[in-house]
Amino acid sequence: MSVDRVSDSELNALVDGELDPARQAEIEDWLADNTDDARRVARYRAQNAGLHALYDDILHEDIPPETLAAFGARRSGIPPWAAIAAAVALFIVGAAGGWGLRGMDDKAEAGNQVVASAPIDTQELMVRAAMAHVVSSVDDMHKPAPGRLDDMDEYITDRMGKPVRVPRLDSFGYKLLGSRVLPDTAGPAAQFVFADDTGKKVSLYVRGEQANGVDITYALADDLSMFYWNDSDRSYAMVADVEDEAGREALLTAAKAVYGQLSK
């Protein structure tokens, strides 16, 4: 079927992908012979590209703390992480000392044994790691080039201002999806996001901090499971959305691997 004329609406609909395929093909044929209309379509497409060029950087900006704080408590005058801490249940279930999970068979039993409110000085780390995990969108992260994790080491080290290596967890079944550097109280923090073989997200949060060598500790932040620890100058938190025994075991295995690779 030949095309006699094309309306403004149809030129726009072509740009916006709103035409059915048959009509789209007809109009594209029409444009080949009607340069004025073709030019208009090109201009509209350039407008769209220009809008993205102007505003897409915003997608990669950190979410303002005031906005995140809305997810915690609607109070002002306290740090956003504290507002969130007030609304999130933070529990230490027990140190995983000796690399075991004894006494942590399930939440209820753990509740009778070793559950305690998280000490105040680790709450901030827990909240930051948990929030970073929840709001991480891989689209907005620095993604690894295949087989080039060294480049990623360099990227993170540049932005952290000190050497930080990406943990290599492929042999544990975790694939690196991306990383980013986030603002934290005492300077930048790094976050690495991995996916396990079922696609479930696991993230590692690392920040510089004068610390005193806490052993790997299992904690709960709302629905999230977390293992955290620190060495002399850094704190680490490994977070996943798991609640069952197998999930915790897998997370601990990964945390131990990270400990072995990154901690001194």
Binding site: S9, N12, L54, I58, T67, V135, S137
Partner: protein, 171 residues
């Protein structure tokens, strides 16, 4: 879907809500205030969000309504001072591209609010006509006619801006 999962779905839309609000209002402080209001309202009304429907368009609809209320409120105030808030961009190596983008930005700022909304929802956010019509609560035909006029208006203003810029360079 658990409340926590829904809240995470809200969080995931914040970058897009901010991008749209900043492009629409052309003022970061006001845009972030608007996004905060949207988030508070959305968390308050989270039980009203129906599973299986689009979280993004739901949030954009809330934003549109809050923004429209705010515009109505301001238009009733006598001492409205329009804010000139063109985004500041760093000097880029590609001067030509920067000139074009700044022309686009200026022209966008000159569009009416109704035209800017529809242009951003479709051209920047990539919504379908039906989605944009839902967010703006107008018929699809209205979206299409506004979009068509907005794009022509933008083209005309960019061309005018370009010819002015050329004259300035020649002088």
């Amino acid at each position: 879907m658990s409340t926590e999962t829904k809240r995470q779905a809200v969080v995931a839309e914040i970058p897009r809500l901010r991008r749209y609000a900043i492009a629409l209002m052309r003022d970061r402080t006001q845009a972030d205030d608007l996004v905060n209001d949207v988030i508070l309202r959305a968390l308050d009304k989270l039980h009203l969000w129906r599973e299986g429907t689009n979280m993004r368009t739901w949030l954009f609809t809330i934003m549109h309504n809050l923004h429209a209320n705010e515009m109505r409120r301001r238009s009733r105030m006598l001492d409205v001072v329009p804010l000139d808030a063109a985004p500041q961009r760093a000097e880029a190596a590609n001067q030509e591209a920067v000139v074009e983008l700044s022309q686009l930005s200026d022209a966008l700022g000159d569009l009416s609010g109704l035209h800017r909304q529809v242009l951003l929802l479709i051209g920047l956010e990539g919504m379908t006509y039906a989605e944009a019509a839902g967010v703006l609560d107008v018929p699809v035909g209205t979206v299409m006619s506004r979009l068509s006029r907005a794009r022509e208006e933008l083209r005309r203003r960019i061309d005018e801006g370009a010819s002015t810029a050329t004259i300035r360079r020649v002088k």
